[in-house]
Amino acid sequence: MHYGWTGKILRIDLSTATHDILQPDEDIYRKFIGGKGMAGHFLRPHVTLDWDHPDMPLLLFTGPLVGTIAPTSGRSTVMSRSPLTGTVADCSVGGRLGFQLKRAGWDGIIITGKADNLCSIEIEDSHVRIHDAAQYRGKDTNDIFDAFFDGSRSVAAIGTAAENGVAFSSLTVDKHHAAGRTGIGLCFGAKNIKFLTIHGTGKIPVRNKKELLKAREEITRLTAASPILMGEQGFSCFGTGSIYDLMDSRRMMPTDNFRKTHFDRAGELNAYAYKENYLPKKYGCMGCHILCKKIAGKGKMKGGSMPEFETMSHFTALIGNTDMKLVMQANELCNRFGMDTISAAATLACYREMNGGIDLSAHLLDLLTQIGTASTELGRSLGRGSMKYAQGMQQDSQPSMSVKGLELPAYDPRGAYGMSLAYALSTRGGCHLRAYPVSHEILRKPVATDRFTFSGKARIIKIAEDQNAVVDSLTACKFIFFAAGLEEYARAYTAVTGVETTAQELLKAGERIYYHERIMNALNGFTAADDDLPMRFFTEAGSGGNAIEIKPLDREAFLEARARYYHIRGLDEQGRPTPEKTKELGLA
């Protein structure tokens, strides 16, 4: 294994402050590829432990393409068990973290144990040092980046939210990138890790550079042909916020905690308006030419991250805010405290609904501060996430718009039926990225599908989950798959690793990787009862208009589609893994 992978995994035990090196067999790499797949392989033996048990591993993995010229391959996966949902928790994260880790000679890191005191981990090629970080207690992420993020290394840090037990804490990477969802930041907090710095100087050997160049050319040609990525209204020009207008015009912008699907003021709060006000500059992950990240170019926030689409939508429509500046400030606060913007906004939307729909604008920053610093009883209970907050208030969890406890992002599933399945079935809870059916239901890629039907969607969701599992294992960016496909990435994979493969073989690995997560969730007691949506979507209509009618989802049709999915995925009627499929995929 001399190409693509380094063949080495770093294992750090914080309880004993020691580390050693694992060198897994080649067939493990072939089966699980890297990133999400490899991390899952090392999580499984421990997945039934509590999320904060010292033996629960915290995993950071790169993939075979990382550190090469394959487009968008600077990413990595952070994984553990979620404090928010109890499910598998994995986040694909950008920046330079994966790149530096790989250059330092590691395919991944497994962190176990718990440090006695708040610590930081420094990785410099093969050198690993654990430092006391007590002086950084109570510091927000900006303080850490100011001190350590000078361009020479990658830095991943938690803020005060994770120190204070906020269940939706994020890990911030290289200042502008977040492993946002499922409370992965709190997993760092549980191990007493404040931050991690990585610098590597090695080179990643590539089996066939000429072939890799050709694959790269094919992929960049396809991205240039993609209006969503490189068009003049696309991600490269406006960031992910460029779909803000579209979501509202398709009548699927979650408004007032998903009670409506259209926001009257959306036209004033779109990506164009942000561009006018903040002159954002293009910025991106290592090895990416799309540069979908935007950095404010003027005003008080200059140099700070511009809000992503989900943040723009949830901090306006979902909570009834019409002040753009407030969105910028809320985004900045969440980044500083290290909190997932989706869950933070959605939890506040739940709070707002339970309090008669009060106007939050005047209290928004104060509420976020109470959560991020756990300074009040209210802040602490909101910090448990919308589901536990609603239940704690002795209400049923109705106002918590979440799946498995993970708050839903900014696509109303009544406006895209595939999305309803994607949300319900995602192995990490209410997440759009596992299957991202918006791609075909709204963005017409690879071709358009009818968004108001369940027909055919079960298999489409299954295939997309498999594909994205591969993407997160390679590790590449899901956005580029609006344009390129596994056909082109298989060529890159073979060029880099020398391992012959095809698009369909990679998909098979994706199926294995995703099924593995179903197995892990089942071990923790998850069943069909958890693969469901908040009842609101089945009983209330959305806001029609533009000749579009947004009806409540047909519960029976949804359940039939879900049953078809179980059948296609090789699960039993309760959504649990079967021995036959487990064996077929080599996961027994």
């Binding site: 209006p227 068009g231 209204q233 579209l246 164009y272 690879p446 358009a448 295939i463």
Partner: protein, 388 residues
């Protein structure tokens, strides 16, 4: 699923791609549009892949004759040089025996496979979200094979390399190509003053563009400028089904709800800004594409890179040919096309297609598209005559 399977079965026939295609769709259960003895083998193909639809068909003429010839000439892989191949298909693998294993060996990595067994020719394509993908790929295979066949023939004539077999195939195809020219229809007369009128006119012009064979599957695009808004067909929309697939885009970019607009939006906008034209039509008419690739400079250092690097000023009569790839990017046609089309009836992008404009409505743009393609066809056969 049944609805989609039936729809794309009909489209295959209507587009002249196959007379009796076998089409399947798959959610939890497999649905075929009809019985066929190939189904057991194809069922195993579907089983062996992570897909949701498949088309298996004997291509209609002239594609059948073309593919039979090409599969003999290039027995393993056919590599057309046009834009649809380069961007989406990469190449067209060929096999010579029909089994699940042989078909899978190609479809696992490519979007299509051509089965050339004895005298029979079949093409298999698939989709992962819709039979539409299988249809689009099938159509692209036929289009790019057609282009390759005629481009090869002209090139071989020039080198005196035409074989008897090739000449026979050429003669057999001629009746399908030499159809009497059709008159351009009368389309809605402009200028238009409301969005409804614009959309109606675009839907109509799009239908005729497909009906006249001036574009294949979901390629091509169309736009109209109404004041400071450009109405343009969406990315991946079929010109014969534009209802609900037209995005209004403000020329100043103040809304991005048209992020789903055609990948050529930038080129269209630029043409509108540089000229006083109101209508733009873009198709992939075959002879315009074929002739754009015909070049007698054998020793040109840019050969093989013509689609992005050709630096010669080239024309077919009054129509300029420019290099440029789909979309934006430094080598994108958005840089080369707008200056070339200004002051001309239209412009051809190398190996890709033809753009035309109109001053008030789509009558002029459509007529130009049709006339230029007819001119290219005439020109093609004139070049053939000269070389024989």
């Amino acid at each position: 699923m049944k609805k989609l399977v039936d729809k794309y079965t009909r489209k295959m026939i209507r587009a002249g791609l196959a007379d009796d295609p076998l089409v399947c769709g798959l959610d939890d259960e497999l649905f075929w549009n009809r019985e066929d003895e190939a189904i057991p083998v194809l069922g195993n193909v579907v089983q062996g892949m992570n897909i949701n639809s498949l088309i298996y068909a004997e291509p209609a003429e002239p594609y059948q004759t073309i593919l039979r010839y090409l599969a003999e000439r290039y027995p393993e892989i056919i590599t057309p040089g046009d834009c649809e191949t380069r961007t989406f298909l990469h190449d067209l693998p060929v096999i010579h025996s029909f089994s699940a294993e042989t078909v899978l060996s190609c479809l696992r990595k490519r979007k299509s496979v051509i089965i050339a067994e004895d005298h029979a020719i079949r093409v298999v394509t698939f989709g992962t979200v819709s039979p539409e993908q299988a249809f689009v790929t099938f159509s692209s295979v036929c289009f790019s094979s057609f282009v390759l066949f005629f481009a090869d023939y002209l090139d071989d004539l020039r080198q005196s390399n035409v074989t008897a077999r090739q000449q026979k195939a050429f003669a057999a195809i001629l009746p399908f190509v030499n159809k009497p020219a059709r008159e351009a229809p009368g389309l809605h007369a402009g200028p238009f003053s409301t969005a409804e009128q614009v959309i109606e006119a675009m839907i109509e012009a799009g239908k005729y563009t497909v009906d006249f064979g001036l574009v294949d599957s979901y390629f091509g695009n169309i736009s109209y400028r109404l004041n400071d808004t450009v109405y343009i067909s969406q990315t991946g929309s079929s010109l014969d089904e534009l209802a609900g697939c037209i995005d209004p885009c403000p020329l100043d970019g103040s809304s991005s709800s048209a992020i789903t607009a055609s990948s050529e939006l930038s080129a269209h906008n630029e043409i509108f800004l540089r000229t006083d034209k109101l209508a733009i039509l873009h198709g992939h008419p075959k002879f315009a594409v074929i002739l754009s690739m015909d070049c007698d400079e054998q020793d040109c250092p840019q050969r093989g890179q013509c689609h992005i690097k050709c630096s010669r000023e080239r024309f077919i009569n009054d129509i300029p040919i420019v290099p440029g790839e789909v979309g934006t990017g430094p080598t994108g046609l958005c840089n080369t096309l707008p200056p070339a089309i200004k002051g001309n009836r239209g412009a051809i992008v190398w190996g890709h297609g033809l753009f035309t404009t109109g001053s008030t409505d789509f009558n002029e743009a459509f007529r130009n598209l049709l006339d230029i393609e007819n001119m290219c066809r005439t020109q093609y056969f004139k070049r053939v005559q000269q070389l024989i």
